[in-house]
Symmetry: D2
Subunit: 134 residues, 4 copies
Protein backbone atom coordinates (compact mmCIF):
# COMPACT_ATOMS: atom_id res chain seq x y z
CA UNK A 1 0.00 0.00 0.00
CA UNK A 2 1.49 3.39 -0.91
CA UNK A 3 2.21 5.64 2.02
CA UNK A 4 2.48 9.35 2.50
CA UNK A 5 5.29 11.13 4.39
CA UNK A 6 5.47 14.56 5.94
CA UNK A 7 8.03 16.21 8.21
CA UNK A 8 7.67 17.44 11.75
CA UNK A 9 10.12 19.24 14.03
CA UNK A 10 9.76 18.34 17.73
CA UNK A 11 9.23 21.44 19.90
CA UNK A 12 10.10 21.76 23.59
CA UNK A 13 6.36 21.66 24.23
CA UNK A 14 6.21 17.97 23.24
CA UNK A 15 8.98 16.76 25.54
CA UNK A 16 8.68 15.60 29.14
CA UNK A 17 11.15 15.36 31.98
CA UNK A 18 12.45 11.98 30.72
CA UNK A 19 13.92 14.19 27.93
CA UNK A 20 11.85 12.50 25.23
CA UNK A 21 8.50 13.12 23.56
CA UNK A 22 5.61 12.42 25.97
CA UNK A 23 3.78 9.25 24.96
CA UNK A 24 0.38 10.84 24.30
CA UNK A 25 1.84 13.29 21.80
CA UNK A 26 2.44 10.56 19.23
CA UNK A 27 -1.34 10.36 18.79
CA UNK A 28 -1.16 14.04 17.77
CA UNK A 29 1.62 13.11 15.34
CA UNK A 30 -0.59 10.35 13.93
CA UNK A 31 -3.35 12.95 13.43
CA UNK A 32 -0.98 15.33 11.62
CA UNK A 33 0.21 12.45 9.47
CA UNK A 34 -3.18 11.07 8.43
CA UNK A 35 -4.47 14.60 7.75
CA UNK A 36 -1.66 15.20 5.27
CA UNK A 37 -2.18 11.75 3.75
CA UNK A 38 -5.90 12.47 3.23
CA UNK A 39 -5.01 15.85 1.73
CA UNK A 40 -2.52 14.18 -0.62
CA UNK A 41 -5.21 11.87 -2.03
CA UNK A 42 -7.59 14.78 -2.54
CA UNK A 43 -9.66 14.52 0.67
CA UNK A 44 -8.67 17.24 3.09
CA UNK A 45 -10.43 16.28 6.32
CA UNK A 46 -11.63 19.88 6.69
CA UNK A 47 -13.57 19.43 3.41
CA UNK A 48 -15.08 16.18 4.64
CA UNK A 49 -16.47 18.00 7.69
CA UNK A 50 -17.94 20.70 5.43
CA UNK A 51 -19.63 17.89 3.45
CA UNK A 52 -21.14 16.61 6.72
CA UNK A 53 -18.87 13.63 7.33
CA UNK A 54 -16.97 13.24 10.60
CA UNK A 55 -14.38 10.63 11.52
CA UNK A 56 -14.19 10.14 15.27
CA UNK A 57 -11.63 7.65 16.55
CA UNK A 58 -12.93 4.30 17.85
CA UNK A 59 -9.64 2.63 18.64
CA UNK A 60 -5.96 3.50 18.81
CA UNK A 61 -2.97 1.23 19.28
CA UNK A 62 0.56 2.47 19.70
CA UNK A 63 3.87 0.60 20.02
CA UNK A 64 6.84 2.57 21.28
CA UNK A 65 10.11 1.16 19.91
CA UNK A 66 12.38 4.09 20.67
CA UNK A 67 12.08 7.77 21.65
CA UNK A 68 11.91 10.98 19.69
CA UNK A 69 13.82 13.90 21.22
CA UNK A 70 13.70 17.67 21.21
CA UNK A 71 14.46 19.27 17.84
CA UNK A 72 14.41 15.94 16.00
CA UNK A 73 13.19 16.34 12.44
CA UNK A 74 10.80 13.41 12.20
CA UNK A 75 9.10 11.72 9.30
CA UNK A 76 5.41 11.09 9.90
CA UNK A 77 4.14 8.30 7.65
CA UNK A 78 0.61 7.00 7.10
CA UNK A 79 -1.25 4.64 4.84
CA UNK A 80 -4.77 3.24 4.64
CA UNK A 81 -4.89 -0.38 5.77
CA UNK A 82 -8.65 -0.80 5.54
CA UNK A 83 -11.54 1.24 4.11
CA UNK A 84 -14.89 -0.51 4.09
CA UNK A 85 -18.39 0.57 5.00
CA UNK A 86 -18.08 3.17 7.74
CA UNK A 87 -14.69 1.92 8.84
CA UNK A 88 -11.32 3.46 8.02
CA UNK A 89 -8.13 2.06 9.51
CA UNK A 90 -4.97 4.08 9.13
CA UNK A 91 -1.51 2.84 10.03
CA UNK A 92 0.96 5.50 11.10
CA UNK A 93 4.65 5.48 11.80
CA UNK A 94 7.08 7.98 13.28
CA UNK A 95 10.62 7.74 11.94
CA UNK A 96 13.91 9.56 12.51
CA UNK A 97 15.81 8.97 9.30
CA UNK A 98 15.46 5.23 8.71
CA UNK A 99 14.85 4.41 12.35
CA UNK A 100 11.28 3.46 13.26
CA UNK A 101 10.51 5.09 16.61
CA UNK A 102 6.79 4.56 17.04
CA UNK A 103 4.13 2.73 15.08
CA UNK A 104 0.43 2.26 15.49
CA UNK A 105 -2.99 2.23 13.99
CA UNK A 106 -6.12 4.25 14.42
CA UNK A 107 -9.62 3.04 13.58
CA UNK A 108 -12.00 5.80 12.51
CA UNK A 109 -15.75 5.47 12.14
CA UNK A 110 -17.61 7.66 9.68
CA UNK A 111 -20.64 9.49 11.09
CA UNK A 112 -22.88 12.17 9.64
CA UNK A 113 -23.93 15.47 11.16
CA UNK A 114 -26.73 13.73 13.11
CA UNK A 115 -24.05 11.51 14.68
CA UNK A 116 -25.32 8.43 12.81
CA UNK A 117 -22.85 5.88 11.50
CA UNK A 118 -22.70 6.22 7.73
CA UNK A 119 -20.70 4.79 4.82
CA UNK A 120 -17.45 6.53 3.98
CA UNK A 121 -17.88 9.03 1.10
CA UNK A 122 -17.79 7.09 -2.21
CA UNK A 123 -15.06 9.32 -3.60
CA UNK A 124 -12.83 8.54 -0.66
CA UNK A 125 -13.34 4.79 -1.18
CA UNK A 126 -12.51 5.16 -4.90
CA UNK A 127 -9.40 7.18 -4.21
CA UNK A 128 -8.21 4.57 -1.74
CA UNK A 129 -8.88 1.76 -4.26
CA UNK A 130 -6.88 3.58 -6.94
CA UNK A 131 -4.06 4.02 -4.47
CA UNK A 132 -3.90 0.34 -3.61
CA UNK A 133 -3.68 -0.61 -7.32
CA UNK A 134 -0.56 1.52 -7.79
Amino acid sequence: MPYFDCSYRVPYADTDQMQVVYYANYLEYFERSRTEMLRSIGFPYSEMEKMGFFLPVREANVTYHSSACYDDLLTLRSYVSEARGARLVIVSEVLRGDELLVSGSVTLCCINSEHKVTRLPAKLLEAVKLLSKD
Copy 2:
Protein backbone atom coordinates in the same frame (compact mmCIF):
# COMPACT_ATOMS: atom_id res chain seq x y z
CA MET B 1 -10.83 41.07 46.75
CA PRO B 2 -11.67 37.55 47.94
CA TYR B 3 -9.98 34.79 46.02
CA PHE B 4 -10.75 31.18 45.31
CA ASP B 5 -8.28 28.30 45.63
CA CYS B 6 -8.28 24.82 44.15
CA SER B 7 -5.65 22.08 44.03
CA TYR B 8 -3.87 20.56 41.08
CA ARG B 9 -1.37 17.71 40.86
CA VAL B 10 1.26 18.15 38.11
CA PRO B 11 1.32 15.13 35.74
CA TYR B 12 4.29 14.02 33.64
CA ALA B 13 2.36 15.31 30.64
CA ASP B 14 2.86 18.92 31.78
CA THR B 15 6.63 18.78 32.20
CA ASP B 16 9.30 19.43 29.59
CA GLN B 17 12.91 18.40 29.27
CA MET B 18 14.04 21.26 31.54
CA GLN B 19 12.31 19.10 34.22
CA VAL B 20 9.73 21.77 34.99
CA VAL B 21 6.22 22.60 33.82
CA TYR B 22 6.26 23.89 30.22
CA TYR B 23 5.47 27.61 30.15
CA ALA B 24 2.29 27.40 28.06
CA ASN B 25 0.67 24.98 30.49
CA TYR B 26 0.25 27.68 33.13
CA LEU B 27 -2.42 29.22 30.90
CA GLU B 28 -4.27 25.90 31.22
CA TYR B 29 -3.82 26.15 34.99
CA PHE B 30 -5.27 29.67 34.88
CA GLU B 31 -8.27 28.29 32.99
CA ARG B 32 -8.81 25.52 35.55
CA SER B 33 -8.52 28.09 38.32
CA ARG B 34 -10.94 30.68 36.95
CA THR B 35 -13.44 27.96 36.04
CA GLU B 36 -13.53 26.79 39.67
CA MET B 37 -13.73 30.39 40.88
CA LEU B 38 -16.72 31.09 38.61
CA ARG B 39 -18.35 27.85 39.82
CA SER B 40 -17.78 28.89 43.43
CA ILE B 41 -19.67 32.16 42.93
CA GLY B 42 -22.54 30.37 41.24
CA PHE B 43 -21.58 30.83 37.58
CA PRO B 44 -20.25 27.63 36.12
CA TYR B 45 -18.83 28.67 32.77
CA SER B 46 -20.59 25.70 31.17
CA GLU B 47 -23.93 27.25 32.26
CA MET B 48 -22.94 30.62 30.80
CA GLU B 49 -22.37 28.98 27.41
CA LYS B 50 -25.79 27.30 27.63
CA MET B 51 -27.29 30.78 28.30
CA GLY B 52 -25.57 32.03 25.11
CA PHE B 53 -22.65 33.91 26.65
CA PHE B 54 -19.06 33.14 25.67
CA LEU B 55 -15.88 34.53 27.16
CA PRO B 56 -13.02 34.38 24.67
CA VAL B 57 -9.63 35.63 25.87
CA ARG B 58 -8.43 38.98 24.54
CA GLU B 59 -5.20 39.30 26.46
CA ALA B 60 -3.02 37.19 28.72
CA ASN B 61 0.02 38.20 30.76
CA VAL B 62 2.15 35.76 32.68
CA THR B 63 5.14 36.29 34.98
CA TYR B 64 7.24 33.26 35.82
CA HIS B 65 8.88 33.63 39.24
CA SER B 66 9.85 30.03 39.83
CA SER B 67 9.06 26.60 38.41
CA ALA B 68 6.50 23.95 39.23
CA CYS B 69 7.78 20.37 39.01
CA TYR B 70 6.39 16.91 38.39
CA ASP B 71 4.02 15.65 41.09
CA ASP B 72 3.88 19.03 42.86
CA LEU B 73 0.52 19.58 44.52
CA LEU B 74 -0.17 23.15 43.47
CA THR B 75 -2.66 25.73 44.63
CA LEU B 76 -4.40 27.50 41.76
CA ARG B 77 -5.80 30.85 42.91
CA SER B 78 -7.99 33.35 41.08
CA TYR B 79 -9.92 36.53 41.78
CA VAL B 80 -11.83 39.04 39.70
CA SER B 81 -9.90 42.27 39.34
CA GLU B 82 -12.33 44.00 36.98
CA ALA B 83 -15.87 43.32 35.76
CA ARG B 84 -17.43 46.10 33.72
CA GLY B 85 -19.46 46.16 30.53
CA ALA B 86 -18.27 43.26 28.41
CA ARG B 87 -14.88 43.09 30.12
CA LEU B 88 -13.82 40.63 32.79
CA VAL B 89 -10.27 40.63 34.11
CA ILE B 90 -9.18 37.70 36.25
CA VAL B 91 -5.92 37.53 38.15
CA SER B 92 -4.52 34.05 38.67
CA GLU B 93 -1.66 32.69 40.70
CA VAL B 94 0.05 29.33 40.95
CA LEU B 95 1.50 28.51 44.36
CA ARG B 96 3.37 25.60 45.93
CA GLY B 97 2.59 25.95 49.61
CA ASP B 98 3.26 29.64 50.33
CA GLU B 99 5.64 30.08 47.42
CA LEU B 100 4.29 32.06 44.47
CA LEU B 101 5.53 30.34 41.31
CA VAL B 102 3.62 32.05 38.53
CA SER B 103 1.20 34.96 38.39
CA GLY B 104 -0.75 36.60 35.64
CA SER B 105 -3.96 38.05 34.37
CA VAL B 106 -6.36 37.18 31.63
CA THR B 107 -8.77 39.62 30.01
CA LEU B 108 -11.98 38.06 28.77
CA CYS B 109 -14.54 39.70 26.51
CA CYS B 110 -18.18 38.68 26.68
CA ILE B 111 -19.80 37.81 23.35
CA ASN B 112 -23.17 36.30 22.46
CA SER B 113 -23.93 33.37 20.17
CA GLU B 114 -23.80 35.70 17.13
CA HIS B 115 -20.25 36.60 18.16
CA LYS B 116 -21.26 40.17 19.08
CA VAL B 117 -19.68 41.87 22.07
CA THR B 118 -22.28 42.05 24.82
CA ARG B 119 -22.48 43.11 28.48
CA LEU B 120 -21.58 40.47 31.05
CA PRO B 121 -24.69 38.70 32.46
CA ALA B 122 -26.23 40.96 35.17
CA LYS B 123 -26.19 38.13 37.71
CA LEU B 124 -22.47 37.68 37.24
CA LEU B 125 -21.87 41.42 37.81
CA GLU B 126 -24.00 41.32 40.98
CA ALA B 127 -22.20 38.25 42.31
CA VAL B 128 -18.85 39.91 41.74
CA LYS B 129 -20.07 43.11 43.51
CA LEU B 130 -21.22 41.12 46.51
CA LEU B 131 -17.87 39.36 46.60
CA SER B 132 -15.92 42.61 46.64
CA LYS B 133 -17.99 43.92 49.61
CA ASP B 134 -17.06 40.92 51.74
Copy 3:
Protein backbone atom coordinates in the same frame (compact mmCIF):
# COMPACT_ATOMS: atom_id res chain seq x y z
CA MET C 1 -8.27 -7.13 40.99
CA PRO C 2 -8.94 -4.09 43.19
CA TYR C 3 -8.95 -0.80 41.37
CA PHE C 4 -8.31 2.78 42.33
CA ASP C 5 -10.51 5.74 41.40
CA CYS C 6 -9.79 9.46 41.27
CA SER C 7 -11.78 12.40 39.92
CA TYR C 8 -10.95 14.74 37.08
CA ARG C 9 -12.79 17.79 35.77
CA VAL C 10 -12.49 18.32 31.99
CA PRO C 11 -11.13 21.78 31.13
CA TYR C 12 -11.71 23.67 27.88
CA ALA C 13 -8.08 22.92 27.08
CA ASP C 14 -8.86 19.23 26.59
CA THR C 15 -11.73 19.67 24.13
CA ASP C 16 -11.54 19.92 20.36
CA GLN C 17 -13.86 21.38 17.75
CA MET C 18 -15.98 18.19 17.70
CA GLN C 19 -17.02 19.45 21.20
CA VAL C 20 -15.55 16.44 22.95
CA VAL C 21 -12.24 15.55 24.57
CA TYR C 22 -9.49 15.15 21.95
CA TYR C 23 -8.53 11.47 21.61
CA ALA C 24 -4.88 11.82 22.64
CA ASN C 25 -5.83 13.44 25.94
CA TYR C 26 -7.18 10.16 27.31
CA LEU C 27 -3.59 8.91 27.47
CA GLU C 28 -2.94 11.86 29.80
CA TYR C 29 -5.96 10.78 31.84
CA PHE C 30 -4.54 7.24 31.99
CA GLU C 31 -1.28 8.72 33.30
CA ARG C 32 -3.08 10.73 35.99
CA SER C 33 -5.03 7.63 36.94
CA ARG C 34 -2.12 5.18 37.23
CA THR C 35 -0.06 7.77 39.13
CA GLU C 36 -2.76 8.04 41.78
CA MET C 37 -3.14 4.26 41.86
CA LEU C 38 0.61 3.80 42.43
CA ARG C 39 0.47 6.47 45.15
CA SER C 40 -2.45 4.67 46.80
CA ILE C 41 -0.47 1.42 47.08
CA GLY C 42 2.53 3.27 48.54
CA PHE C 43 4.61 3.76 45.38
CA PRO C 44 4.42 7.36 44.22
CA TYR C 45 6.06 7.30 40.80
CA SER C 46 8.10 10.36 41.76
CA GLU C 47 9.71 8.26 44.54
CA MET C 48 10.46 5.45 42.09
CA GLU C 49 12.39 7.88 39.89
CA LYS C 50 14.35 9.09 42.93
CA MET C 51 15.23 5.42 43.62
CA GLY C 52 16.54 5.15 40.05
CA PHE C 53 13.65 3.28 38.46
CA PHE C 54 11.88 4.60 35.40
CA LEU C 55 8.77 3.26 33.68
CA PRO C 56 8.65 4.29 30.03
CA VAL C 57 5.63 3.18 28.03
CA ARG C 58 6.16 0.36 25.50
CA GLU C 59 2.59 -0.06 24.30
CA ALA C 60 -0.74 1.67 24.65
CA ASN C 61 -4.18 0.53 23.50
CA VAL C 62 -7.28 2.67 23.74
CA THR C 63 -10.91 1.91 22.91
CA TYR C 64 -13.28 4.86 22.62
CA HIS C 65 -16.84 3.87 23.50
CA SER C 66 -18.31 7.33 24.03
CA SER C 67 -17.09 10.91 24.49
CA ALA C 68 -16.24 13.00 27.51
CA CYS C 69 -17.32 16.63 27.28
CA TYR C 70 -16.30 19.98 28.72
CA ASP C 71 -16.81 20.31 32.47
CA ASP C 72 -17.64 16.63 32.92
CA LEU C 73 -16.53 15.35 36.31
CA LEU C 74 -14.95 12.07 35.30
CA THR C 75 -13.83 9.04 37.26
CA LEU C 76 -10.39 7.82 36.28
CA ARG C 77 -9.92 4.18 37.26
CA SER C 78 -6.84 1.95 37.11
CA TYR C 79 -5.71 -1.45 38.21
CA VAL C 80 -2.65 -3.63 37.69
CA SER C 81 -3.36 -6.47 35.28
CA GLU C 82 0.19 -7.83 35.15
CA ALA C 83 3.40 -7.24 37.11
CA ARG C 84 6.21 -9.64 36.32
CA GLY C 85 9.93 -9.18 35.73
CA ALA C 86 10.38 -5.74 34.18
CA ARG C 87 6.85 -5.60 32.84
CA LEU C 88 3.92 -3.75 34.35
CA VAL C 89 0.56 -3.67 32.60
CA ILE C 90 -2.04 -1.23 33.86
CA VAL C 91 -5.64 -1.17 32.72
CA SER C 92 -7.35 2.22 32.86
CA GLU C 93 -10.91 3.35 32.38
CA VAL C 94 -12.59 6.72 32.07
CA LEU C 95 -16.15 6.85 33.40
CA ARG C 96 -18.87 9.49 33.71
CA GLY C 97 -20.99 8.20 36.56
CA ASP C 98 -21.59 4.55 35.67
CA GLU C 99 -21.02 5.06 31.96
CA LEU C 100 -17.75 3.69 30.60
CA LEU C 101 -16.45 6.21 28.06
CA VAL C 102 -12.95 5.02 27.29
CA SER C 103 -10.90 1.99 28.29
CA GLY C 104 -7.41 0.85 27.56
CA SER C 105 -4.16 -0.58 28.76
CA VAL C 106 -0.62 0.65 28.97
CA THR C 107 2.44 -1.60 29.12
CA LEU C 108 5.35 -0.11 31.05
CA CYS C 109 8.89 -1.44 31.08
CA CYS C 110 11.10 -0.87 34.10
CA ILE C 111 14.55 0.58 33.35
CA ASN C 112 17.30 1.88 35.60
CA SER C 113 19.18 5.17 35.39
CA GLU C 114 21.58 3.65 32.79
CA HIS C 115 18.51 2.90 30.64
CA LYS C 116 18.93 -0.86 31.15
CA VAL C 117 15.85 -3.03 31.49
CA THR C 118 15.59 -4.12 35.12
CA ARG C 119 13.18 -6.02 37.36
CA LEU C 120 10.41 -4.00 38.95
CA PRO C 121 11.27 -2.94 42.53
CA ALA C 122 10.56 -5.93 44.87
CA LYS C 123 8.38 -3.80 47.13
CA LEU C 124 6.17 -2.85 44.21
CA LEU C 125 5.74 -6.51 43.26
CA GLU C 126 4.85 -7.40 46.88
CA ALA C 127 2.34 -4.57 47.14
CA VAL C 128 0.68 -5.70 43.94
CA LYS C 129 0.55 -9.32 45.19
CA LEU C 130 -1.08 -8.23 48.44
CA LEU C 131 -3.60 -6.21 46.47
CA SER C 132 -4.61 -9.17 44.31
CA LYS C 133 -5.23 -11.32 47.40
CA ASP C 134 -7.73 -8.83 48.79
Copy 4:
Protein backbone atom coordinates in the same frame (compact mmCIF):
# COMPACT_ATOMS: atom_id res chain seq x y z
CA MET D 1 14.30 44.66 12.81
CA PRO D 2 14.37 41.77 10.33
CA TYR D 3 11.99 38.98 11.13
CA PHE D 4 11.82 35.30 10.38
CA ASP D 5 8.74 33.43 9.12
CA CYS D 6 7.83 29.77 9.17
CA SER D 7 4.62 27.92 8.36
CA TYR D 8 2.40 25.86 10.60
CA ARG D 9 -0.73 23.83 9.84
CA VAL D 10 -3.32 23.81 12.68
CA PRO D 11 -4.21 20.24 13.73
CA TYR D 12 -7.45 19.16 15.39
CA ALA D 13 -5.42 18.71 18.56
CA ASP D 14 -4.97 22.49 18.90
CA THR D 15 -8.65 23.43 18.62
CA ASP D 16 -11.20 23.67 21.42
CA GLN D 17 -14.97 23.48 21.49
CA MET D 18 -15.28 27.17 20.52
CA GLN D 19 -13.98 25.84 17.14
CA VAL D 20 -10.80 27.90 17.33
CA VAL D 21 -7.26 27.36 18.56
CA TYR D 22 -7.15 27.17 22.38
CA TYR D 23 -5.49 30.27 23.81
CA ALA D 24 -2.57 28.53 25.52
CA ASN D 25 -1.47 26.89 22.28
CA TYR D 26 -0.28 30.20 20.84
CA LEU D 27 2.57 30.09 23.36
CA GLU D 28 3.58 26.80 21.73
CA TYR D 29 3.40 28.55 18.35
CA PHE D 30 5.63 31.32 19.71
CA GLU D 31 8.12 28.64 20.80
CA ARG D 32 8.11 27.01 17.36
CA SER D 33 8.56 30.43 15.79
CA ARG D 34 11.49 31.65 17.92
CA THR D 35 13.20 28.26 17.60
CA GLU D 36 13.19 28.56 13.81
CA MET D 37 14.31 32.19 14.04
CA LEU D 38 17.26 31.24 16.26
CA ARG D 39 18.12 28.42 13.85
CA SER D 40 17.98 30.85 10.91
CA ILE D 41 20.58 33.13 12.52
CA GLY D 42 22.85 30.18 13.26
CA PHE D 43 21.87 29.45 16.88
CA PRO D 44 19.71 26.37 17.08
CA TYR D 45 18.45 26.37 20.65
CA SER D 46 19.35 22.66 20.91
CA GLU D 47 23.01 23.66 20.33
CA MET D 48 22.79 26.36 23.00
CA GLU D 49 21.70 23.76 25.54
CA LYS D 50 24.61 21.51 24.53
CA MET D 51 26.93 24.52 25.17
CA GLY D 52 25.39 24.82 28.65
CA PHE D 53 23.11 27.81 28.08
CA PHE D 54 19.40 27.61 28.88
CA LEU D 55 16.71 30.19 28.18
CA PRO D 56 13.77 29.80 30.56
CA VAL D 57 10.86 32.18 30.08
CA ARG D 58 10.45 34.96 32.64
CA GLU D 59 7.47 36.75 31.15
CA ALA D 60 4.95 36.25 28.36
CA ASN D 61 2.36 38.65 27.01
CA VAL D 62 -0.20 37.72 24.41
CA THR D 63 -2.86 39.78 22.62
CA TYR D 64 -5.59 37.90 20.80
CA HIS D 65 -6.92 39.91 17.86
CA SER D 66 -8.71 37.14 15.99
CA SER D 67 -8.82 33.35 15.97
CA ALA D 68 -6.94 30.68 14.09
CA CYS D 69 -9.04 27.71 13.00
CA TYR D 70 -8.56 24.04 12.18
CA ASP D 71 -6.44 23.37 9.09
CA ASP D 72 -5.40 27.02 8.73
CA LEU D 73 -1.94 27.34 7.26
CA LEU D 74 -0.47 29.98 9.54
CA THR D 75 2.63 32.11 9.33
CA LEU D 76 4.59 32.19 12.57
CA ARG D 77 6.83 35.29 12.72
CA SER D 78 9.46 36.31 15.25
CA TYR D 79 12.14 38.92 15.73
CA VAL D 80 14.49 39.95 18.50
CA SER D 81 13.36 43.17 20.15
CA GLU D 82 16.03 43.23 22.87
CA ALA D 83 19.24 41.29 23.57
CA ARG D 84 21.32 42.63 26.41
CA GLY D 85 23.15 41.00 29.30
CA ALA D 86 21.21 37.88 30.21
CA ARG D 87 17.97 39.19 28.75
CA LEU D 88 16.47 38.27 25.39
CA VAL D 89 13.08 39.62 24.34
CA ILE D 90 11.44 38.08 21.31
CA VAL D 91 8.31 39.42 19.65
CA SER D 92 6.15 36.86 17.91
CA GLU D 93 3.14 37.09 15.65
CA VAL D 94 0.69 34.59 14.23
CA LEU D 95 -0.74 35.50 10.83
CA ARG D 96 -3.19 33.94 8.37
CA GLY D 97 -2.18 35.48 5.06
CA ASP D 98 -1.90 39.20 5.82
CA GLU D 99 -4.24 39.07 8.79
CA LEU D 100 -2.59 39.39 12.21
CA LEU D 101 -4.37 36.95 14.54
CA VAL D 102 -2.23 36.97 17.66
CA SER D 103 0.81 38.93 18.78
CA GLY D 104 2.95 38.89 21.87
CA SER D 105 6.36 38.94 23.42
CA VAL D 106 8.36 36.54 25.52
CA THR D 107 11.21 37.53 27.82
CA LEU D 108 13.86 34.87 28.21
CA CYS D 109 16.64 34.88 30.79
CA CYS D 110 19.95 33.15 30.07
CA ILE D 111 21.13 30.73 32.75
CA ASN D 112 24.00 28.23 32.84
CA SER D 113 23.92 24.56 33.79
CA GLU D 114 24.22 25.51 37.51
CA HIS D 115 21.02 27.59 37.07
CA LYS D 116 22.92 30.88 37.52
CA VAL D 117 21.94 33.89 35.48
CA THR D 118 24.64 34.46 32.88
CA ARG D 119 25.26 36.74 29.89
CA LEU D 120 23.87 35.60 26.57
CA PRO D 121 26.51 33.81 24.44
CA ALA D 122 28.69 36.48 22.72
CA LYS D 123 28.09 34.94 19.29
CA LEU D 124 24.35 35.25 19.74
CA LEU D 125 24.69 38.95 20.66
CA GLU D 126 26.88 39.55 17.59
CA ALA D 127 24.48 37.74 15.27
CA VAL D 128 21.60 39.82 16.60
CA LYS D 129 23.62 43.06 16.13
CA LEU D 130 24.41 42.15 12.54
CA LEU D 131 20.75 41.43 11.94
CA SER D 132 19.62 44.79 13.24
CA LYS D 133 22.06 46.62 10.93
CA ASP D 134 20.50 45.02 7.84
